[in-house]
Amino acid sequence: MNQEFKDIIRTENLKKIYEDNGVPVEAVRGVDLKIKPGEFTALAGPSGSGKTTLMNLIAGLDKSSQGKVWLKGQEISKMSGSQLTDFRRDNIGFIFQAYNLIPVLTVKENIEYIMLLQGVDKQVRNERICKILNIIGLNEFENRIVTKLSGGQQQRVAIARAMVSQPAIILADEPTANLDSANSSNLLDMMHELNHETGMTFLFSTHDQLVMEKATRLIILKDGKIFDDKRK
């Protein structure tokens, strides 16, 4: 694995064209993006600007029509399906807008899931879970089935699940979209703190003003292209 990289996320002339009812739609139209380790970046822009598509391409969930993606200096478009799955499992934490959790498992089990796939030691697992539950403030609910939690609580579990395996990158696709402002603020503060503590790289797609305010770098996407990119 190449550890000599300046940019933890890098894209080069990234393009995505997909067909919608037989009409070709150019969702991402040549994006060159460089994100340094530890950045807390918000990817904003109006609906249809290509935020989610870009996120999916970066995550390796979707295949680009043209261009390349490097994560941690590795070109993911060259990886096989199985390699990509393992890479994702070990290096990327996902937080989605909703449906983040495995509904039949408890809080603890959801958080544990990826570590189990990774084959992490039981002791290490328990230490990490204990720690992260403290951070998200859900220690008392560790054995509750996640479907019996509130939306805010569920998103906190999702953050815990995404971060517990200590990935280099957290990709969060509109994580606050279904939350009220108090909950959103709370959640963002928590992520910000974790970013400081762990140095994980956060990339949000969002149109939540609050997220944009808290971000240390704001990239505005418009019509599938970078319209504005500024560091605070």
Binding site: D62, T85, R88, D90, Q97, V104
Partner: protein, 405 residues
């Protein structure tokens, strides 16, 4: 373990669907188990009564007798052969017989008959022959001019107890075989062809009449356990060492009966096939529904790094868990049902005849295969039917299914 936990909880979460699926699978299991146990019981009974009545389970003849029986193809010195038969383990009894065609006459009524020379004592202990003597008396233990005739034959030649039966045939030396016998009993074997043809005399009288000293045409053998027929047959073949003798189990000498039974058994398999098909549809319905409504979940699982194989395993595990519940509960029900059917059975209002054997009551049997066959079939069906939806679930594209609305 995690997979098992997820699968089990998924199964328990959809209680209603799980119970409905269990009813389908368990119902199919019980039906299959009961059908097999029932059929095995009925066939066992049929085989037993068919073979115990007259045929025995194993027969010895002179070579080629079965294909083309003639008076000349005899077992010579059959007492000696009988002693060897007695020494074979698993043999219950044996009895010798002579068969010769003849003309039989009672009071000027003449008909073709089959003279069967039997050893009265051996015949009774081997085939319970005396139980078939429904009128009059069985043959005495000492040879004389006594004859028993089949019920159908008695009707044909208008014979009654006490009448004289004159037999005319030819001895093995070509001489005229002619003698007169007193009818002392009527035989009802339940086998209609035989009852219309047969008249039974002491084998020693028959040997004298047909000039067949110390010879017979057939040795009928019964075994201790009907399922050991084939092994007893092979030990008989190695014990009774004579290449001029032909030793065969009932499946060979009662070939048409055996084949009719097998054909009937095929009917059973078709019936089981239909049951399994119904179960398969039930399982397919369940697995399709549960896969379709959990597409987002599978999308998530894949996005966060779950391999497709694990998703396939998870779904197969879920369905097979339901199958385990179904088979366990189905086994309890099937066991109860078969226990009841094997003890009480069902009486037929009109007796059924199969291969000339009349069956008044049908009873099931409890055997291992009544459970093992449906068990394997239920699991196999469940797995086969679940594989396609499971693969489909494993191919879920997270981008499409996770797209927020």
């Amino acid at each position: 373990m995690l997979l098992f936990k997820i699968a089990l909880r998924n199964v328990l979460r959809q209680k209603r669907r799980t119970i409905l699926t269990m009813l389908t699978m368990g119902g199919g299991f019980v039906l299959c188990a009961a059908s097999i146990g029932w059929a095995d019981g009925a066939y066992g009974d049929i085989i037993y009564s068919f073979t115990s009545n007259q045929l025995g389970q194993i027969q010895i003849h002179s070579e080629d007798y079965l294909d083309n029986p003639t008076i000349y193809k005899t077992i010579v010195d059959y007492e000696k052969v009988g002693k060897q038969v007695d020494s074979v383990e698993g043999v219950k009894n044996w009895t010798p017989r002579i068969y010769v065609g003849a003309l039989g006459m009672v009071n000027q009524e003449v008909s073709g008959v089959q003279v069967v020379g039997i050893d009265p004592l051996r015949e009774d202990s081997t085939t319970n022959f005396n139980n078939m003597v429904t009128e009059g008396e069985p043959l005495p233990s000492l040879p004389g001019y006594d004859v028993l005739i089949g019920k159908g034959l008695a009707k044909v030649i208008k014979a009654e107890l006490g009448d004289s039966l004159v037999l005319l045939s030819q001895g093995a030396d070509g001489s005229i075989a002619n003698a007169k016998y007193g009818i002392m009993g009527i035989v009802e074997s339940g086998e209609m062809g035989g009852d219309r043809m047969n008249c039974y005399i002491d084998i020693r009288s028959a040997q004298q009449l047909f000039v067949l000293d110390n010879q017979c045409h057939e040795i009928v053998i019964t075994v201790e356990d009907i399922s050991s027929v084939n092994s007893v047959t092979s030990s008989l073949r190695s014990t009774v060492k004579s290449d001029k003798l032909d030793i065969q189990p009932w499946m060979v000498f009662a070939k048409s009966f055996y084949e009719a039974m097998r054909a009937d058994m095929n009917g059973l398999w078709i019936q089981l096939g239909i049951i399994i098909l119904l179960v398969a549809f039930g399982v397919l319905n369940t697995v399709l529904m549960s896969v379709l409504e959990r597409q987002r979940e599978f999308g998530l699982l894949k996005a966060i790094g779950t391999k497709p194989g694990m998703i396939i395993m998870q779904i197969l595990l879920e369905m097979n868990l339901i199958a385990i519940f179904s088979v366990v509960s189905g086994s309890v029900v099937a066991l109860g049902l078969l226990y009841w059917l094997s003890n009480y059975g069902i009486s037929l209002s009109t007796p059924m005849t199969f291969g000339g054997v009349e069956i008044q009551q049908m009873k099931a049997t409890i055997n291992l295969r009544s459970f093992v066959i449906p068990l394997i079939t239920v699991f196999a069906t469940t797995t086969v039917v679940s594989i396609f939806p499971a693969v489909k679930a494993a191919r879920t594209d997270p981008v499409k299914t996770m797209r927020t609305n």
